[in-house]
């Protein structure tokens, strides 16, 4: 097992910079996820760590060994990096049986012949496929192929495990169970792992830490809780599932809380600072709020910090109902549990309501576009 250090990693394809001056430290035994939309450079970063791409500049160390250093002209080929990798397309060799595929890394690492059957059996039983060892890999289902790929990555006990969107070829149900399995597997094996995905649920459930990437740069590094609750900027908030963004002016920053005046709302509200820089009085900021932290009440008995709004669309989602509100200059999305039994009635289009945001649900995620009168206030 080994820690991974990435310094100043840059990779270009022609004029396009896919990974831009990336710095990252991965602790020994950590499960780290690179999360981001397609084209954000996460897969390229992973492939640079694997040795499948040569970075244009920067350095990568695994343990104490320098794997690649553009400045020092060093490059350790992938087969010498002692890693295991699970590919999106599984990449199982169709001319070998399940056993042949799993035994391959051991043979390549010149393990004694006598040990190989035992280790293969162990790896296959870890993924629950020991009874299929003699099948041809093309005779397996997608989920089974994925497990073989996993066993192949694990079998030689590499010091580093790499996952390139391993679950994206599976159907939704299988993906959920494989996710749980991967999680418990990591707990048992404890190998340092780098996992690439664009699925926020996968990232949140599997990782010790998440790295959110966009356009070849890191936007935020943090635990799943930090990423989920305190997105550093608007991109992260948007990607991690915040539905509503509103513009506001900071009016008070006394004793740690930030009081903001959201454009077009009748009253000031209390917001939380994200993990970004702390705003000062008079700053224009963007706030994010999740749809499920807003409650709708009848206009009559709403509290003072309620926001008057009108329901413009209703969508029934099964266990939840989604409302689209027109609140001054903003459109707000609200999701509430579907009422059961004698619960209050559902709202319908055209209803006037009061929207109430939960305490601490408003998060400052960055400065808004500059407004002409902002300097006058500061």
């Amino acid at each position: 097992m080994a820690a991974v250090t990435i310094r100043g990693l840059t990779k270009r394809y022609g004029d396009v910079t896919v990974v831009d001056e990336l710095d990252l430290d991965i602790a020994d035994g950590e499960f780290l996820t690179l999360l981001g939309p397609s084209g954000c450079g996460k897969t390229t970063t992973l492939r640079c760590v694997a040795g499948l791409e040569r970075p244009d500049s920067g350095e990568i160390r695994i343990g104490r060994r320098v794997m690649v250093s553009a400045a020092g002209g060093q490059f350790v080929p992938p087969e010498k990096r002692d890693a295991g990798m699970v590919f999106q397309s599984y990449a199982l060799w169709p001319h070998m049986t399940v056993r042949g595929n799993v035994a391959y890394p051991l043979r390549m690492r010149r393990r004694p012949r006598s040990q190989i059957p035992g280790l293969v059996h162990e790896a296959l039983s870890m993924v629950g496929l020991d009874h299929l060892a003699d099948r041809s890999v093309s005779a397996l289902s997608g989920g089974q192929q994925q497990r073989v790929a996993l066993a192949r990555a694990l079998v030689a006990r590499p010091s580093l495990l790499l996952f390139d969107e391993p679950l994206s070829n599976l159907d939704a149900k299988l993906r959920t169970s494989m996710r749980a399995e991967l999680h418990s597997l990591h707990k048992r094996v404890g190998t340092t792992s780098i996992y690439v995905t664009h699925d926020q649920i996968e990232a949140l459930t599997l990782s010790d830490r998440i790295v959110v990437m966009h356009d070849g740069r890191i936007h935020q590094v943090g635990t799943p809780e930090e990423i989920y609750a305190q997105p550093a900027d608007q991109f992260v908030a948007d990607f991690i599932g915040f539905e509503n963004f509103v513009c506001a002016t900071v009016v008070d920053t006394a004793d740690g809380s930030i009081v903001v005046q959201v454009d077009g709302f009748p009253n000031v509200l209390v917001a939380r600072g994200g993990s970004g820089a702390r705003p000062r009085n008079g700053d224009r900021v963007t706030l994010a709020v999740r749809a499920n932290t807003i409650t709708l009440l009848p206009p009559a008995n709403g509290p003072t910090h309620g926001i008057p709004a009108e329901v413009v669309a209703v969508a029934y989602l099964g266990d939840q109902v989604e409302y689209l509100l027109d609140a001054g200059p903003h459109a707000l999305k609200v999701r509430m549990a579907t009422p059961t039994g004698h619960a209050p009635p559902r709202w319908s289009e055209g209803d006037r309501v009061t929207a109430v945001m939960q305490r601490e649900s408003l998060i400052v995620v960055g400065s808004a576009a500059p407004v002409p009168f902002a300097p006058a206030l500061s």
Partner: protein
């Protein structure tokens, strides 16, 4: 073409099968018949096994058998190795010239074997050939290179048929997912172990398939051994069959047929073995989402690959072309003074040449058209037919492979002289036309099938749902969509026909000789420069055809682009073509070979 549903009905199917049987199956049966007859075709004779006895008591048979086997194995290995290298360069490396390979291979595939044999017999002539003169000019002995005999035949044959092997291999090579190699690298295997343990076994079925096809071609090769090998005494199977018919007096048709039958049997057995061995092992189709064929950065090796491509282009196309054109302008072969068009003038003044040119042009034009039309008909019917009918159609149009070249000529002699109602056709140009159509059907159907496979079923189904009949759909949608591919197939088939020597050499009479036969005879008589000039005329016509095709597709694209800009309704009414239909002609052929669902698969076994 009646409606497809009715075609599937009994009458249509019966008519189609009878037509296919007459054209493709009957000649082969006639070879078997002929092997057991004592008399020449068309004469009353007895049933006997004398043909076999004569053929196999003749000591020449055994030496040619050995030579043919040697040539088949050596060409199989040589041409397949060349094809593997090219397919590998194109699919797995970033060598700059790799984009040149496919067009180059189209040219090599389209050029008739006669071109290679004639030009290399000139190139390799000591003292007078271009290469030897160049060697002499730099101070080396000008007799250093002599292309002839066993190795000369092997060399020229490899140059030529590597083109076919390339198109067989390039599909599977491109389909291979690079992740499979990367997974091996990560698992700890270096480049060499990865190549040996992953690439080689995965590509083995396709490579073995290509080997078997090259082996078959080597076994029955006619033009190249006849022109390059025979002058220095290298006789093979096909030239021996030819010799039994033309050199023995009286012509020994039974012995020739007996030899031919042995060959047909060998091919059938080879194909059967191949299907048994390889067809259950289908590797190349397995890949999940995210599979991309990407080339490897091969660093300095790139220059080696580029050099290899360049060397092949020079040897296979550039030097032969230069030599033939230069030779055609020389007063005497190898004499560099007094270049003139005299050879052309005297050729065109010859009363037998102009009719032969005209005859060949007609054969190429109509033969190519017929071959493409038949392939298209069978392809469209096969698309909608039951599995059994489709297999039968596929198998029968591939039978010309078993009865290749000279054997087909022999088979048609038997068929046309023995079957009563066909006899009047013997000696006319029709028998030559039929032979050439049959011989070029495999090539034509390769192109049309691949193009057909690119037309999505939905395009046809939506036409049917919109109210078009099967006939209208077949002509208005399917044929219309693949028209550019069909034109390209027509041009290539026509070039093949114009240069085909094997079929007309037995079937045509002096009154309806083709240019290819005339070129061969001129060359055999030592009138080398006239032969070169005559072949140059064929080459010129072929180049003109290719140029017309390229201009046509360029014009069409331009017209279409303008149509899209000014008149959107017209553009919208134009068929929605799947990707790949706007390609220029040579690339269409390449696109055609790219997919794996062509009739070739019957031999290659990727169904």
């Amino acid at each position: 073409m009646p409606s497809l549903t009715r075609l599937r009905g009994r009458a249509g199917t019966a008519a189609l099968l009878a037509f296919v049987g007459l054209l493709y199956v009957l000649p082969i049966l006639m070879i078997v018949y002929g092997a057991f007859r004592t008399a020449a075709p068309g004469l009353p004779g007895e049933w006997s096994a004398d043909g076999f006895l004569q053929a196999f008591s003749d000591p020449r048979t055994y030496s040619t058998l050995g030579n043919s086997l040697w040539l088949a194995v050596a060409t199989g290995i040589g041409a397949t190795a060349l094809a593997v290298v090219f397919a590998w360069i194109v699919s797995r490396t970033d060598a700059g010239l790799r984009r040149m390979v496919t067009p180059l291979m189209v040219v090599v595939l389209a050029m008739p074997p006669l071109f290679f044999s004639l030009s290399w017999s000139l190139l390799g002539t000591p003292k007078f050939g271009l290469i030897n003169q160049l060697l002499g000019a730099i101070g080396l002995p000008d007799t250093l290179l002599s292309v002839g005999g066993r190795w000369g035949t092997w060399f020229v044959l490899c140059l030529k048929i590597c083109g076919l092997g390339y198109f067989i291999l390039i599909g599977p090579f491109l389909a291979m997912d690079r992740r499979l190699e990367e997974a091996s690298l990560i698992a700890g295997g270096g480049r060499l172990p990865t190549f040996l343990r992953i690439n080689v076994p995965m590509m083995a079925p396709a490579v073995l398939g290509a080997f078997i096809i090259n082996f078959i071609i080597g076994l029955i090769a006619f033009d190249v051994p006849l022109i390059i090998g025979r002058p220095s005494g290298f006789q093979v199977f096909a030239t021996q069959i030819y010799a039994f018919v033309t050199n023995d007096t009286p012509p020994n048709y039974a012995a020739a047929s007996a030899l031919a039958m042995v060959f047909i049997l060998a091919v059938v057995i080879l194909v059967a073995i191949k299907r048994r061995l390889l067809d259950r092992r289908q590797f190349t189709t397995l890949s999940g989402k995210g599979a991309r064929p990407e080339p490897w950065d091969i660093g300095r090796w790139r220059w080696l690959c580029n050099g290899f491509i360049l060397a092949y282009a020079v040897l296979a196309v550039v030097l032969p072309c230069v030599q033939i054109v230069l030779g055609s302008l020389q007063p005497l072969f190898g004499v560099h003074r007094g270049y003139s068009l005299d050879n052309y003038r005297s050729l065109l003044a010859d009363p037998t040449v102009v009719p032969a040119l005209w005859n060949t042009a007609q054969l190429a034009f109509f033969g190519g058209l017929l071959a493409v039309a038949i392939s298209l008909l069978l392809g469209v019917v096969g698309r909608h037919a039951s599995v059994g009918l489709r297999r039968t159609l596929e198998l029968s149009t591939w039978l010309p492979w078993a009865a290749h070249g000279i054997i087909l000529g022999l088979a048609l002699v038997w068929a046309f002289l023995t079957v009563p109602f066909l006899r009047p056709l013997f000696g006319t140009v029709w028998i030559v036309l039929i032979g050439l159509v049959i011989a070029s059907t495999p090539l034509a159907s390769r192109a049309t099938d691949a193009a057909l496979a690119q037309v999505g079923r939905e395009l046809e189904e939506s036409a049917r749902v919109s109210g078009a009949s099967a006939l209208r759909t077949g002509i208005g949608i399917v044929t219309r969509l693949i028209l550019p591919a069909c034109l390209a197939a027509w041009v290539i088939t026509a070039i093949q026909i114009a240069g085909n020597l094997e079929v007309p050499i037995l079937l045509s009479l002096p009154t309806n000789e083709t240019v290819a036969v005339m070129v061969y005879q001129l060359n055999a008589r030592g009138e080398t420069v006239q032969a070169a000039a005559l072949f140059c005329l064929v080459l010129g016509a072929a180049a003109l055809g290719a140029l017309l095709l390229a201009t046509g597709s360029a014009l069409r694209r331009r017209w279409r682009r303008r149509g899209r800009g000014s008149a959107p309704p017209a553009a919208a009414a134009a068929p929605v073509s799947p990707a790949g239909f706007d390609l220029p002609a040579p690339e269409l052929v390449a696109a055609a070979t790219r997919n794996s669902k062509s009739r070739t698969d019957l031999l290659l076994g990727e169904e």
